[in-house]
């Protein structure tokens, strides 16, 4: 910006003080939770509390300072809310580590949080204008597809727990679908900004729904094929559901046609049904979902319901108020530190804690959608709406799966589950939201007033 804009038009305040206050509150709650775990398990405040608390606080202070410098108008709540969720995830992983779950590693997770914050700040510093992403529409789509399919490359892909969704580079295991998620949302947003009018207006009307033209339907069909293909080849139901839902909702946001939602749901149900008929592991999920307590599923080694039932037992033991941090047995749930962290939290904090946690997620999503409403250019409207929805949708898929509302699919709980890739990708996602909320809340540009035929959108 040039120095001419010395006197901006009065608009929403920056609310930096509120942001710092909430951030401090989030870090304090996380430290209190650490202390609580220690007090319950050993009867003393854990020695690591200060280290963990101060490193989390320090990281967030860095994130805050970078945000204040490079995105001063950004939404004041996004960072504190994410901090709290991330911190509670850390505490839960620490608690599971103390409880004897061997794979859980709080140290690993806080290092990953650190890398995530670094990526967050780097994204904010490098990406000064989110509209630069619009120029990379097809590049992003290409990168997204490559990432999505990369675990299938022989020699690069790794298979754990029956799902081939990891790649291994330089000794690190990466789950590329997490990054593909962001790249594909960017691609969808860029594509739909260009095509939304033709998608909304051209086409025939059949009964109650507007059918789009075949050539406009093309990308949907392609995404559908890719989503179902990923499902089948990598045994990754979660990612395909996530991607497909994200795309359908972005189509809906862009065109405001209910028909897209109907078409999308029909396509996915059809695809999932066929996949369920053709492939055993997909069909098993449905069986397990309908009958989780059946002994033949409960005792089955692979693809059974043991884990699901343990999670439900845990949440049942927690009840309304929970057993208290460090006083339950969440370590009995297999993989409680990753996919089932929600059930572990449910056991120790109870329904009250889970509701608070879900509300915090809901507030993050709300701030994202608010950014989308306040955004001035159609690209960032779509991108912010899409990213927020994908976050909410991911949470729904995994929480719904853990509570047996929908068939269980392997997805991580954003920011809470142990796992570097997801944490890093979600911090980048938050950086994009922060960047866009900064642009949306920044004062100078004024709304285009009604002046006849000429309407100009900024690019």
């Amino acid at each position: 910006m040039s120095e001419v804009v010395a006197t901006p038009v009065p608009m929403p305040a920056k609310r930096r003080a509120a942001q710092l206050f909430m951030l401090a509150g989030a870090v304090a709650i996380v430290m209190a939770a650490y202390a609580n775990v220690g007090l319950a398990v050993d009867g003393a405040i854990p020695s690591g509390m200060l280290t963990y608390g101060l490193s989390l606080g320090g990281l967030m202070l860095i994130a805050y300072l970078v945000l204040a410098k490079f995105a001063p108008w950004a939404d004041p709540l996004i960072l504190p809310l994410v901090t709290l969720v991330n911190g509670l995830g850390l505490v839960m992983i620490y608690r599971l580590e103390v409880g004897g779950q061997e794979e859980a590693s709080a140290t690993n997770q806080i290092v990953m949080t650190g890398v995530g914050v670094v990526l967050f700040t780097v994204t904010l510093i490098v990406l000064r204008d989110h509209r630069a992403l619009q120029r990379l529409t097809y590049t992003a789509g290409f990168i997204g597809l490559i990432l999505l399919l990369s675990p299938l490359i022989p020699g690069l892909g790794r298979e754990f727990f029956g799902a081939r969704i990891w790649i291994s580079i330089f000794g690190f295991s990466i789950q590329p679908s997490e990054f593909a998620k962001i790249a594909l949302v960017v691609f969808f947003a860029g594509y739909l900004v260009a095509k939304r009018d033709v998608l909304a207006l051209a086409g025939r009307r059949l009964l109650f729904i507007d059918l789009p033209r075949a050539r406009d339907l093309g990308p949907v069909i392609i995404t559908w094929v890719v989503a179902i293909g990923v499902l089948v080849l990598q045994r990754d139901l979660g990612s395909s559901l996530l991607l497909f839902g994200g795309f359908i909702v972005m189509l809906y946001i862009a065109t405001q046609r209910t028909s897209w939602v109907l078409i999308g749901i029909l396509l996915f149900v059809g695809g999932a049904f066929i996949a369920g008929q053709l492939f055993d592991h997909v069909g098993d999920r449905f069986e397990v979902w309908l009958n989780p307590s059946a002994p033949e599923f409960y005792d089955r080694e692979v693809g059974g319901s043991y884990q699901l039932m343990q999670g439900m037992f845990g949440m049942g033991a927690g009840g309304i108020l929970g057993t208290g941090l460090g006083q339950g047995y969440p370590q009995k749930i297999p993989l409680a530190y990753s996919d089932f962290i929600f059930a572990a939290v449910g056991e120790e904090l109870g329904l009250t804690g889970l509701m608070a946690l879900l509300l915090i997620y809901a507030l993050i999503v709300e701030r994202g959608l608010r950014t989308s409403i306040a955004a001035r250019d159609p690209f960032s409207k779509l991108l912010a709406g899409g990213l927020s929805f994908v976050l909410a949708w991911q949470l729904f898929i995994i929480v719904g799966g853990v509570t047996n509302l929908i068939p269980l699919t392997g997805l991580v709980t954003p920011f809470m589950s142990q796992g570097g890739s997801a944490l890093l990708a979600n911090w980048i996602l938050i950086a994009l939201l922060v960047r866009m909320s900064d642009a949306a809340r920044r004062p100078p540009p004024q709304a285009i007033q009604d002046e006849g035929l000429t309407q100009v959108f900024q690019r």
Binding site: P10, P12, R15, M22, I29, L39, L81, L84, E451
Partner: protein, 156 residues
Amino acid sequence: MSELTLLLIRLAFLAVLWFFVIAAVGVIRTDLFGSRTSPATRGKPAKPAKPAAKPKSKKGEPRQLVVTGGPLQGTIINLSETPITIGRANDATLVVTDDYASSRHARLFPQDGQWIVEDLGSTNGTYLDRSKVTRPTPVPLGVPIRVGKTVIELRK
């Protein structure tokens, strides 16, 4: 650690967690109120002030748009509340006959006592002083705006 202490800690922790959620909602609420009350407080003094202020014209508010360069040099347009469009089109407020200007080149409009210049997607761009106008930008007094060969500025 006694059972009772742990129970109290557990309840206190849940209470603090909910307090955080409520505080977050509070921040959102003040955010909404902030943007809702600010036009109201802005509107209130403006209403009685407007009729009185119009002939007097508040100090520092531009009243004229003067063409200081180009073929139309010397033209003066008195500013009112209506936006001013600049371009080659016949319906523009300031019609410039200039090969370097687009038919709807730029627009000036008042907002909260400031005049804002906005480029309307012109081919050759609009310049405020030396910098290209990429987004609607407030125009200070006496700073030249370049549209093709024409230079205009706001004066009191």
